[in-house]
């Protein structure tokens, strides 16, 4: 029963599969079995948020899930945010506002920020700070991340005023 199990899931819109022990953490499965090393490990106890991904459209800490739990799920990782070479507005905003330095927390920060905008698309600065408290950054002091999220929120509202660019399934939806 602790033998390897097969897992089939959708990641970044693509059908993927792998095989691993039940104890294998989802973040390790993504990084090792699927080769998606963009999601990082900072603590393995669910506090730093670097491992945050979209699980069925909602942000979740992938170090606190076993890969087997993701069987049949739809995941979006940092590798799935851009549209080919075109950066997602949140990524673009992070770039323009110097919201990253070493980049290690950035994948988790992007996803946590996007998730927060899903439930609060027009947040104040204080609300943004509260929303991104889910992820620890040691480099930036958060000042520029707040600016970037505010700017991205404006762009995202303008692009799709009544929907979110990421659907509930986590897939990218083009505005109608």
């Amino acid at each position: 029963m602790s033998d390897a199990v097969d897992i089939r899931l959708t990641v970044n819109g693509q059908a993927r599969e792998g095989r691993c022990e039940p104890r294998k953490l989802l973040v390790d499965f993504l990084r090792e079995e699927l080769g998606l090393t963009g999601t990082h490990i900072g603590c393995e106890h669910g506090i730093c948020g670097a491992c945050t991904i979209f699980y069925n459209g909602e942000a979740a800490r992938s170090c606190l899930m076993f890969a087997v739990q993701a069987d049949g799920a739809e995941l979006v990782t940092v590798e799935g945010l851009a549209n080919g070479e075109e950066l997602h507005p949140m990524q673009q905003a992070f770039h323009e506002h110097h919201a990253l330095q070493c980049g290690f927390c950035t994948p988790g920060m992007l996803i946590a920020a996007l998730d927060y905008l899903k439930i609060n698309p027009d947040p104040s600065e204080d609300e943004i700070r509260e929303g991104i408290s889910a992820v620890l950054c040691r480099c930036t002091g958060y000042v520029n991340i707040v600016k970037a999220v505010k700017a991205a929120a404006v762009v995202m509202r303008a692009a799709a005023p009544h929907t979110n660019p990421l659907s509930a399934s986590g897939e990218r939806e083009e505005p109608a």
Partner: protein
């Protein structure tokens, strides 16, 4: 760290899950949201021989209101609760508490049944459960039983559940119509576990307070109702002297813990301060149904 090996089960029904737990005789753990269990497993502080994953059992995350109670399937995600109209309408105290529970990504996975079964002394959901009263419905090998809020929490991270019992439903008594409520919490950072928190629910009738509920988190080994402090408000009203007296009594009633976060003395002090503030906030903000 990486977790130790375990046998993994993904049952389709609660009865299957219970049977597996019974078979493992205390060496199996249920997996609900995983936000408390998996860190312990990653530290190898918890090394269960088997994990019984409840996440695929259908019908465990519905929400309904009836007879002055709101019933949640135990696997209802905290994030669902946050945005459920029924919660906003009937259990606004719970919605308020959820603002303090971790962060949005942890609420994506964390469940209401899991939080209550985990019985962390510093958790907010058990505090609300105590404040409002209610019960859990528990399924085990010997059938189903109900456990009322005051009988559930027996110690830090300990409930009166047997190792082969699973919470299937959590019923909260609805916030009485017209009640005012507030939560005052002190934590080192936003989203951290409470060092001390007080939930207050007040039903007023003019100057009088007909119903007062005061419950704690973070202070003692279990969340408690501060009944004697509640009585002071119910008998003496909501003026400054009564509130001060209730706060003082609250500080006397608790059995605060001492740890590297805070001493018992400080927690006792916070109990008094936060009780007064919670009551005043409930009166002033007038949050009510």
């Amino acid at each position: 760290m990486k977790p130790a090996k375990f046998d993994y089960y993904r049952p389709a029904t609660i009865d299957e899950a219970v049977a597996i737990l019974e078979r493992y005789q205390g060496e199996a753990r249920v997996l609900a949201g995983g936000q408390s269990l998996v860190p312990m497993m990653n530290f190898r502080l918890a090394t269960p021989a088997a994990i019984v994953d409840l996440n695929r059992i259908p019908g465990l995350s519905d929400i309904e209101a009836a007879d002055g109670f709101v019933r949640f399937g135990a696997m209802t995600r905290q994030r669902q609760l946050e945005f459920a109209p029924l919660v906003t309408d009937k259990l606004p105290l719970l919605r308020e508490a959820l603002r303090w529970v971790g962060h949005l990504p942890t609420r994506t996975r964390g469940t209401i049944g899991g939080s209550i079964a985990n019985a962390d002394p510093a958790a907010e959901i058990p505090m609300v459960f105590q404040a409002l009263g209610g019960e859990v419905v528990v399924r085990g090998p010997r059938g189903e039983r109900r456990v009322m809020a005051p009988d559930l929490f027996t110690g830090p991270l300990t409930t009166s559940l047997a190792s082969d019992e699973i919470i299937t439903d959590v019923r909260f008594a609805a916030v009485p119509p017209g009640a005012a409520f507030a939560i005052e919490e002190f934590a080192r950072r936003k989203g951290d576990f409470a060092i001390a928190a007080i939930a207050a629910v007040l039903v007023r009738d003019g100057e009088r307070c007909t119903v007062a509920r005061l419950a704690t988190a973070g202070i003692g080994p279990v969340p408690v109702r501060l009944r004697e402090a509640e009585v002071i408000l119910e008998e003496r009203g909501l003026g400054e002297p009564a509130i001060a007296a209730a706060a003082e009594r609250a500080a006397e009633l608790v059995e605060p813990m001492s740890d590297h976060n805070a001493s018992a003395d400080y927690r006792r002090h916070l109990t008094g301060v936060l009780t007064r503030r919670a009551v005043l906030k409930a009166i002033k903000d007038g949050n009510h149904v």
